[in-house]
Amino acid sequence: MERTVRPGRRALVPVLAAALVLAAAPALAQDLASFEKRLTEHRLPNGLTFLIYERPGAPVVSFYTHVDVGAAQEVPGITGMAHMFEHMAFKGTTVIGTTDWPAEKKALDQVEAAWDAFYAERTKVGGADPAKLKELEKAFKDAQEVADKYIVKNEFGDIIDRQGGTGMNASTGSDQTNYFYSMPANKVELWAYLESERFRDPVFREFYKERDVVMEERRLRTESQPTGRLMEQFLATAFVAHPYKQPVVGYMSDLQSFSATDAKAFYAKYYVPSNIVIAIVGDVKAKEIIPILDRYFGRLPKGEKPDPLRTVEPKAIAEKTVVKLDKSQPVYMEGYHRPAATSPEDATYQALAEVLGTGRTSRLYRSLVRDRKVAVQASVFSSFPGGKYPALTVFFGIPAPGRTNEEVQAAIRAEIEKIKSEPVTDEELAMVKSRAKAGLVRGLQNNMGIARQLGIAQTIYGDWREIFTGVTEIDKVTKDDIQRIAKATFVPENRTVAMIVNEDAKTAKN
């Protein structure tokens, strides 16, 4: 689903974007041309891309590292690994986080050997010998205790905390892994050191304790949340082949089985400089920091850009329904397959989702919440769970007390039929377009927000200018486009329905 790039299109679009944005909002100072003047693209020989946006003002700077690897790169057995590595990227290096690296290395090798022995016994054909398993488990625990003695607890994060870093975190999605924080502007070199070191020289210490933490994260977000449970079933059902069907946090069995050695292999394959884009936004001068970036990040060895994902979700041919009996109140969703964010139709899908399901003026809100009162919340998400690959447009409804999933479904379907049979109004289309333009301006209000957008656009589209051209694309959407896409997309065989049915209500009905 590669976006078709016509020769010269990219060069033309920026000019057009600026013109359109300016025409619509004369007060808009933030057109692409003026933005571009403050942006520097810098590519290292090893393939790492920097985007530096100078935003003078308060002496602060935000750093956002976007790695082009997500849960979609995982295969059965290592689901959850992209996220697991994200956790490990805070564990330090051979210099940070250790009291004695050579000794610690030896101890860590022994942890790995002990894990391998334990795991081999646990999965032995014919079943494990319980006594032996217990013994091996103890050996594994003991080995970890030995290794723990060399640890300086969380030194990596501690340095950032103490030097004034704020908002330090990382996130993993289906499409990407990213790492971000902000620093006072005089700490650029410290950041360059830490960020280059964590990807050049990571140490997988405390791997198995951190795996426990991730299992708790899975229990917290997925297994102990009604919507978390439903969402996992929904995605697993909607996708037949594509890894979007896999939970980002991973399956419990994989979390209980993968090793630090697996994590190292994953890291070696995907954490190559050509797979990384770093955006730096704030009170810095590109000219002044580029030497620092070269010095620290130039040390990362060049690596092959990983091959693109082979599996493409086949065309949907069957309607599917998931019913989750649960103790919680009902929840309803239905999703329709749609092309990737790079598709020329992306803007139309965004407009469609806006008209149907964003805010108080949306059709779903007015029909389901305001007028029929069958739902207390009704919205549409244009692309879920990601955008890099073909994904789903998802309708989401929370039934009002005493109302049923069926009523919510009927009301959603009525709106779907309406948008297929009648064009949207001029007012609706105009609203979508002005929102997109204003959204662009609002997105430029803070350093981290800008950095994040730059990193995502550069990685997904290969060009950060998509932040601006995306708005131009929405401005070009016509009523016919919306109706055509609605007709093609909202058909039964393209649909997956998922709902929570309250156990007690179900019993009462029967």
């Binding site: 571009e36 940070i96 704020t166 010095r295 207390v376 109302r403 609203m431």
Partner: protein
């Protein structure tokens, strides 16, 4: 990568120039340093921008801060009002007022018109009322400011509180109640506050179906009228404007808003004694134990606030803080572990430490948390920990004022909560002053492990050991109370009985014109449009044979359904199948018959019919007297207008959609004369605020011929 082909020419040139420049600067010998060798240049001085503060003559405080970077303008108003001061019987009033203030529109525009107007401009106006403050905000492109400001001002000053939008908000509020036990985190946060502050304290108390049902539109109007005066408002504007021009615009929008009474919110009551113990809530659909240990914290104005911040940073602040290091990294017990001694403005915050852990780690996790809390007191943070904590707070201090929006927001809330304008500057100095001894002292003084309420929410069957082994367990019941079975309590006094009788007689007079009304039988044919439990239209013929027989025939898509009360019992017949009416169903059907308006009218003077005055209320602009009628054990309330017309009838009954106890409300209109009496020909029924049915009466026949066979039980 196809990147280079997509770069515009100027960008390429720029990149080339920069590359050359970089090459020139970078000496071949430049090397990466170890992090400890890195020297930091001094951070340039960055004075905190000061907003302009203006007091309008009507007492409104205005804060202006220009920010010319982007063509945007934001307005925020803080108002002295809040849920802390709503009546205990109407919990949720502040929240509903804050929501319908915006959605319910103004005198000039309906809420829907405002939605459309703002959406076309990608602008927003929002309102909210929290515990101790009301707020209103507006955000728009600079070019739209003049068009949006009048809406913002009207929403703030003159909201219409449209009834239909209150209905929507009440459905949302009831959904919140129905769903409040679905999320384990929500349960834990809510219940620990009740344990620490007391369940009746405004800080911890929660909305119920009954408190939402007790709220009428007039309550919202009154709540707004009581608190929303310019002298209770702090208004800040930040963005792309000229301050002088902006001030003129604000004066035009708010200058004529008359001053009102000063805010008189009483001190907020809460439990002042500790509530130590082990409390448990069963939640069987989770596989983690959600654990929290808590007690009262301190007030914001406490001079120990600063050492407490340093203690918090060392205990539960960052990566190297004790909780994260020991409980998460070292023991792997939780993904999220937190702990801090909280401060609040009007009352103490909470000391809280908590985590979520696998059910099978429950007791280990409690032990680990208790250890850390005890250790905080017994082995308070070392010099090294204090240094780290202070560095972390001070080195990131710039982020407190790195945007003009943040600064404006801070200045607004400092003024609102009575902190000095230079609070931020002194904060820094106050943190610098904190010593290890200070932290040790505050840990000892405010953290009392023996006073902690320990709450565990989870699936007991999966715990690593029975909770009872850890101490005496108090199990908390969080079942959601059903909607009230009866309406507001009515005081039965000689006066209320006399007033009730008089009002009821006015209603009877309006319906009968003083003529006697004593038919032996009455037949009513109506067409009913049902919207719930499912949408359909049905025809209904109801034949009442007084005093105690009634036969109702409903023509449904799947056939005819006949419901008969025969004086002794009754039955329901559908096609060839018949079922006796018994128990609750029989009682309900008999009650329905007894409180039907025509039945009440028929027995208007019956000594068994009791009418009690139950207050006054304005319904859709009509001032009505409420009368509670009890007849043959059935209760109902009538809203009687000044002309004697019954505008509304309400009582508790089963909600057919939820099949749970609920409230029915029938709006009566389209009065027509038939057979010498005036009756409402249109009756709209709502269950728990949701429109369920509209009945349109087609004919009313007095004393029709009655075939006694109609009431005979079908042969078995």
């Amino acid at each position: 990568m196809r990147k280079t082909t997509s770069m515009s020419l100027p960008a390429l040139k720029l990149a080339a120039v920069l590359l050359l420049a970089a090459a020139a600067i970078l000496p071949a010998a430049a090397q990466a340093k170890a992090w400890s060798d890195i020297k930091y240049p001094a951070l340039p001085a960055f004075p905190i921008p000061k907003p302009q503060v203006v007091d309008l003559p009507n007492g409104m405080k205005v804060f202006l801060l220009e920010d010319r970077e982007l063509p945007l303008i934001s307005v925020t108003a803080l108002v002295r009002a809040g849920a802390n001061w709503e009546p205990a019987g109407k919990i949720g009033l502040a929240g509903l007022t804050g929501s319908v203030q915006r959605t319910g529109g103004t005198a000039k525009m309906t809420g829907d018109q405002i939605d459309d107007f703002l959406a076309a401009r990608a602008a927003s106006v929002e309102t909210f009322i929290g515990d101790d403050a009301g707020s209103a905000s507006m955000d728009c492109l600079g070019q739209d400011f003049d068009a949006v400001l009048p809406i913002f001002a009207d929403v703030l000053r003159r909201p219409a509180f449209a009834q239909d939008k209150l209905d929507v908000a009440k459905v949302q509020a009831n959904a919140g109640i129905a769903r409040r036990n679905d999320n384990v985190g929500g349960i834990t946060g809510r219940e620990i506050a009740k344990l620490v502050y007391g369940a009746d304290s405004p800080i911890a108390r929660q909305t119920e179906y009954a408190t939402i049902a007790a709220i009428a539109r007039q309550d919202l109007v009154d709540f707004h009228a009581k608190y929303y005066h310019p002298n209770n408002v702090y208004l800040g504007v930040v963005g792309d404007f000229d301050s002088k021009e902006m001030l003129a615009k604000l004066q035009a929008a708010f200058g004529d808003w008359p001053k009102g009474p000063a805010f008189d919110g009483a001190a907020v009551p809460y439990r002042t004694t500790p509530n130590p113990g082990l409390f448990f809530i069963e939640k069987s659909d989770v596989n983690q134990a959600n654990i929290v240990l808590a007690e009262l914290g301190i007030e914001q104005k406490n001079p120990d606030y600063f050492p407490v911040q340093v203690m918090n940073e060392a205990f539960g602040g960052g990566f190297s803080a004790r909780l994260f290091s020991n409980v998460r990294s070292k023991k792997g017990l939780a993904y999220s572990v937190r702990g801090s001694l909280g401060a609040d403005f009007l009352y103490p915050g909470m000391f809280q430490a908590g985590l979520q852990t696998a059910s099978s780690n429950m007791s280990r996790a409690i032990d680990a948390m208790k250890f850390e809390i005890n250790d905080l007191v017994a082995n308070p943070p070392s010099d090294d920990e204090i240094r780290r904590a202070k560095e972390s707070i001070l080195n990131s201090f710039i982020f407190n004022y790195d945007s003009r929006r943040k600064i404006l927001g801070q200045q607004l809330s400092y003024a609102f909560y009575g902190l000095p304008a230079d609070y931020l500057e002194t904060y820094r100095a106050n943190i610098e002053k904190v010593t290890r001894e200070d932290v040790a002292r505050v840990a000892k003084q405010y953290v009392k492990p023996e006073n902690l309420s320990v709450l565990v929410v989870g699936k007991a069957a999966d715990f690593d050991k029975p909770l009872a082994e850890l101490g005496t367990v108090t199990t908390l019941d969080i079942a959601i109370p059903p909607p009230p079975a009866a309406g507001p309590k009515v005081e039965k006094t000689a006066a209320s009985l006399a007033a009730g009788k008089a009002a009821w007689q006015r209603a009877v007079q309006a319906m009968t014109g003083g003529k006697p009304f004593a038919p032996a039988a009455l037949e009513t044919v109506s067409s009913i449009a049902l919207t719930q439990p499912m949408a359909m239209t049905l025809k209904q013929t109801s034949l009442a044979v007084f005093p105690d027989r009634r036969r109702t025939v409903q023509v449904l898509p799947m056939g005819e359904q006949v419901t008969v009360l025969d004086g002794a019992g009754g039955f329901v017949q559908m096609g060839p199948r018949s079922m006796p009416l018994a128990g609750e169903q029989l009682e309900r059907t008999s009650r329905e018959f007894a409180r039907q308006l025509t039945t009440l009218l028929r027995y208007a003077g019956d000594p068994g019919l009791e009418a009690v005055a139950a207050g006054k209320e304005t319904v859709d602009g009509v001032a009505a007297e409420i009368v509670q009628i009890t007849y043959r054990g059935a209760e109902t309330r009538l809203w009687i207008g000044p002309d004697g017309r019954v505008i509304k009838q309400a009582h508790s009954t089963m909600n057919p959609a939820t099949r749970a106890p609920g409230n029915a409300e029938i709006l009566l209109s389209d009065w027509r004369e038939t057979g010498g009496v005036k009756l409402p020909f249109k009756q709209v029924t709502r269950f728990d605020g949701q429109e369920a049915a509209t009945a349109t009466i087609e004919s009313v026949t007095l004393d029709p011929k009655v075939d006694p066979a109609l009431f005979a039980k079908p042969a078995a």
